[in-house]
């Protein structure tokens, strides 16, 4: 109760940051978080098998995956988003399918574009980590008579994940920042909320500086989370 009165007093006389606009920012924060979290999760799930395939010795497996990562890493996310957002209508039979009510909203095309994009970057991060596995570890696994898949599961992947952690942390921050373009396809994410407040009050500094501060806090939260993870998981690599 006391908190509530403190809050209303704080906002009193402020024309821009009313409870109403703050609720837009809050909804934007929720949308941004959902979008980033879901696309990262789906991207991660896609990236693990893709990275294994990308490290394969068979060119007919690794080459198509390389083409995929090359295209998605070589073009702007905005273009990918436009192609999916404007192009989804043209997929045959999509308007009759059960997914249409979902795909008609901007959220799901954006989620698909972000997922494919982060999966491409994450695939390359994991591939680098898999490639960097120490030869001795692989030889030891072979000497124990492990099969290829057992070796992948028990030896290569666990150590590759740890090696990939710092680069993956950067990817997460990159994704958070990239998600700002969701506002371009009418989504009310954090940036969308800021654009709305700017357009309504013609107050660019208040609208965008406030949202920049929120993004900065989120970035630091991710940064410290990954630093904490690295400290726990990479303790054995620290100089004694």
């Amino acid at each position: 109760m006391e908190l509530m009165t403190w809050f209303t007093e704080l906002l009193e006389g402020n024309l821009i940051f009313t409870p109403q606009t703050l609720s837009y920012y809050w909804d934007g924060l929720v949308t941004t978080t959902q979008l980033v979290f879901l696309s990262l999760l789906a991207g991660l799930v896609l990236a693990v098998p893709l990275a294994i395939g990308r490290s394969s010795r068979h060119r007919w497996i690794s080459l198509p995956i390389y083409a995929y990562t090359y295209v998605f890493r070589g073009t702007p996310l905005l273009i990918q988003l436009y192609i999916i957002y404007y192009g989804v209508v043209f997929v045959d039979g999509i308007q009759e399918s059960i997914f249409w009510p979902l795909l008609r909203e901007a959220f799901y095309p954006a989620l698909i574009a972000f997922t494919l994009n982060t999966a491409a970057y994450t695939t390359e991060i994991f591939r680098g980590a898999i490639k960097a596995t120490a030869r001795g570890e692989i030889e030891a696994a072979r000497a124990y008579g492990m099969s290829q898949s057992l070796m992948m599961r028990r030896i290569i992947l666990p150590s590759a994940f740890r090696r990939a952690l710092p680069a993956y942390g950067n990817e997460v921050i990159f994704m958070l920042h990239a998600s700002a373009i969701a506002s371009v396809v009418t989504l009310m994410d954090l940036t969308g909320a800021a654009r709305f407040v700017y357009a309504r009050f013609y107050a660019p500094f208040e609208a965008f500086l406030f949202v920049a501060a929120i993004y900065l806090c989120l970035t630091f939260a991710i940064l410290y989370f990954f630093r904490f993870l690295e400290k726990r998981l990479l303790a054995h690599l620290k100089p004694a």
């Binding site: 090359y70 295209v71 070589g74 073009t75 702007p76 996310l77 905005l78 273009i79 990918q80 436009y82 192609i83 404007y86 192009g87 043209f90 958070l176 920042h177 990239a178 998600s179 700002a180 373009i181 506002s183 371009v184 940036t191 800021a194 654009r195 700017y198 660019p204 500094f205 965008f208 500086l209 949202v211 920049a212 993004y215 900065l216 970035t219 630091f220």
Partner: protein, 233 residues
Amino acid sequence: MLDLQGYGPRLIEGAGVTIQLALLSLILAIVLGLLTASAKMSRSWLLHKIATLYTTVIRGVPDLVLMMLLFFGGQMALNVATDALYDRFGVDWYVNLNAFAAGVLTIGFIFGAYMGETFRGAFLAVDEGQIEAGRAYGMSDWLVFRRIRFPLMMRHALPGLSNNWMVLLKTTALVSVIGLSDMVRVAAEASRATHEPFVFLIPVALIYLAIASVSEWIFARLQKRYNVGFGGH
């Protein structure tokens, strides 16, 4: 085929805008990056703090938000400044912030922070003995920088530089959102008007891929050049 329902010439113009924008912001980013790296390594406490604040804040906020802040906010600040000029001194002067200039300034300003980090690491990797040798030859500070520190630093900076350039190139797509007619904006407008998104968006994606491939080749050659005398890679 190149006509693309009449949008072809505009699309090519847009590609020109994208390339100019990318190259000009790259130059600005490199200059700012060198300044930031020097500030970070300087003995002055204040310079160090300012540079750290700059790189931390810029790298913590999305490009699009910074772009909107500088573009919309910059125009407003300019208006306030020119209004004040009029009130105080009767100077009637109006500056319209052009979207291209705003784009170059914002992208250059953003990537200056990334370049600063790249250059700082590269400068630190230069062997101190080489600098001392230069001084022992009686070279001035500037000559040491030009002949020894800079070429040696570039060897370490190139991989990061090439990476930053690739990200910068893709970031230029965002200026379409603040109203600049680069190729992304032309393609998006054309897609909405004709309801044929693939016809316009896929060629634009291919142009980005082509620029990226050419840049990769140029950077590989540069890397070779700066590695002369170090053997292997």
